[in-house]
Amino acid sequence: MNISHIVAIIKKDFDIEVRQRYAIAGIFLFAVTTAYFIYKAFNNLSGLEWNILVWIIVLFAGLNAIVKSFVQERKETYLYYYSLFGPLEVIVAKLIYNYLFTIFLTFVVIFVFTILFGNPVKDYTLFLKGLFLGTLGISSVFTFVSSVSGAGSSSGTMMSILSLPLVLPSVLLMERITAVAMRLITDTAIAKDLYILASIDLLIIGMVIFIFPSLWKA
């Protein structure tokens, strides 16, 4: 495990992302279009709908974005990676990159929603805590599943079938935490939910790091 290698992989991923501008633009366009669609359909959103729709858009846009982190790379690239880096470095780099990407995506979606519908968030610290922990769970599940389905065929549908049930606990908990942050529901024991979300994240990341090396050899 070498920090400079991890940074190198993240930087490479970022470079590819910037060079293939259509991919990243497509995802943001997807998010913005969906938000605009909702705006034209609903005109006005209650806090509850705001909360749910933001996370659903983040979920599906993130799904589309992270699918390609393993799927789009060619066999030769894999071989090249294999000769240069250890599996641990690759997966840690992918986890970090996808996490940063998902957070960025979330902020873009929230920004668009704030412009179109206003912002019902009351407790920003709690909201951000929920956001950071929840997206961590989502992005690491997606990373793992894309590494599994990337090796298989018909990865697009496979990816959503495999990953959506797996992210459900994190998404539900995150939604609950952000709903509390918007004062939609009151819950004095919300700190416990934060701890549970954090431990689910740790469990997922631990499993990813534990399993990935044996997947990598294939």
Binding site: V141, F144, V148, S149, A151, G152, S153, S154, M158, I161, L162, P165, L166, L168, P169, L172, L173, K192, D193, I196, I200, L203, I204, M207, V208, I211, S214, L215, A218
Partner: protein, 358 residues
């Protein structure tokens, strides 16, 4: 014959489960109790106040009210009980019980809950918890003598083995031996399967992959059966086939995860890659299952015991008579599941051998 002992054991245990689980009677119980008299202030049934005379119509289940040793009490927790002034038997399962509700209640809430206790020599005691909510006019902690004049004494249980009676569950309490063990054995099978998945990732022996995937197959079948049987049970106790109950929906999501893993398997043709991917997904899915089934249902309200602050299986929900059938049923269903798995494994390895010979 020697290596087949566990299959025979499994079937024998299941036969024991069905016979004992279906033939042991329920304890006599009180199905419902309603006040049919008009109170002195003209109100009826639903609102009973202290210091009034009431006639309560009792409908029993499995009871023998024609036995002439009937006694009835209204019990207030930790304080004592008042005995009935008169017990009129209508039939074996119906009776009118007359009560004089005491005037003075202990100094607690305005509304206090009374349980009803009926005893006769034939049936032993039967209890309807929280039968009445009583509006109390006078509350004090002294002068509570009315509650201790005729205490609940001289009670002997009905001899023999019986399952406990619960007023909504009735006979469906027997589903404890069929619905819940399905889930337990599903978990045992999944646990064994991740051990074999780990073994596969370590040794790359295709035999381990066949065992793990067969176990998942049978576990998914058990899970689906668990959902259907639970849904039938829910129809007759909670009133609908499907509720928003967390545990129900989380188990469905868990099933989706595992059905997805079977679809993943069928989508890959290369044997080694399929084995590797499904082994890693299997381990990951089991890790994701733990928060899904054990953590989240405990946080939210649920109708299941052990969730939403309800006590887990144990205490009032599981009595020793139930345990005597419930634990063997888990072992029986697990052995049956293992038998089914072993047939699947033999089929899959035969197919594998045939494919590799070709």
């Amino acid at each position: 014959m020697k290596s087949n002992w566990w299959k025979i054991l499994g079937i024998l245990i299941l036969i024991y489960t069905v016979i004992v689980g279906m033939s042991v009677p329920l304890k006599p119980g009180i199905e419902r109790a309603d006040s049919i008299s008009m109170g002195s202030n003209g109100n009826n049934a639903s609102s009973i106040s202290s210091g009034e005379n009431h006639v309560i119509k009792v409908i029993g289940y499995n009871t023998n009210y024609k036995d002439n040793t009937n006694k009835a009490w209204l019990r207030l927790d930790t304080i004592g009980a008042v005995a009935a002034t008169k017990f009129e038997t209508i039939s074996e399962t119906e009776a009118n019980v007359h009560f004089t509700i005491p005037t003075i209640f202990p100094a607690r809430d305005t509304f206090q809950l009374l349980s009803m206790v009926i005893y006769n020599k034939e049936d032993g005691p039967s209890i309807l918890p929280d039968a009445f909510s009583i509006r109390t006019n006078q509350r004090s902690n002294s002068n509570l003598t009315e509650w201790t004049v005729d205490p609940i004494t001289n009670i002997t249980d009905k001899p023999g083995m019986q399952f406990p009676y619960r007023s909504v569950l009735n006979e469906t309490i027997r589903n404890t031996f069929f619905h819940i063990p399905l889930w337990f054995s599903m978990f045992i099978l999944l646990l064994i399967s991740i051990i074999y998945s780990g073994k596969y990732l370590k040794n790359n022996n295709i035999k381990d992959d066949i065992i793990a995937s067969s176990l998942v197959n049978v576990a998914v079948l058990f899970g689906i059966l668990g959902i259907i049987t639970g849904s039938i049970w829910a129809r007759f106790t909670w009133g609908t086939f499907w509720t928003t109950d967390v545990k129900l929906n989380m188990s469905t999501v868990a099933m989706l995860i595992y059905v997805a893993s079977l679809i993943l398997r069928s989508s890959i043709n290369d044997v080694d890659r399929r084995a590797k991917l499904s082994a890693s997904y299997n381990i990951f899915a089991f890790a994701a299952l733990i928060p899904l089934v054990f953590v989240i249902p405990r946080l939210t309200d649920s109708l299941h015991p052990g969730n939403g602050g309800n006590p887990a299986l144990g205490g009032e929900d599981m009595e020793n008579t139930l345990r005597m059938v419930f634990y063997p049923a888990i072992i029986g269903f697990t052995l049956l599941g293992l038998w089914m798995t072993s047939i699947l494994i033999r089929y899959e390895s035969l197919k594998d051998r045939w494919l590799s010979r070709k």
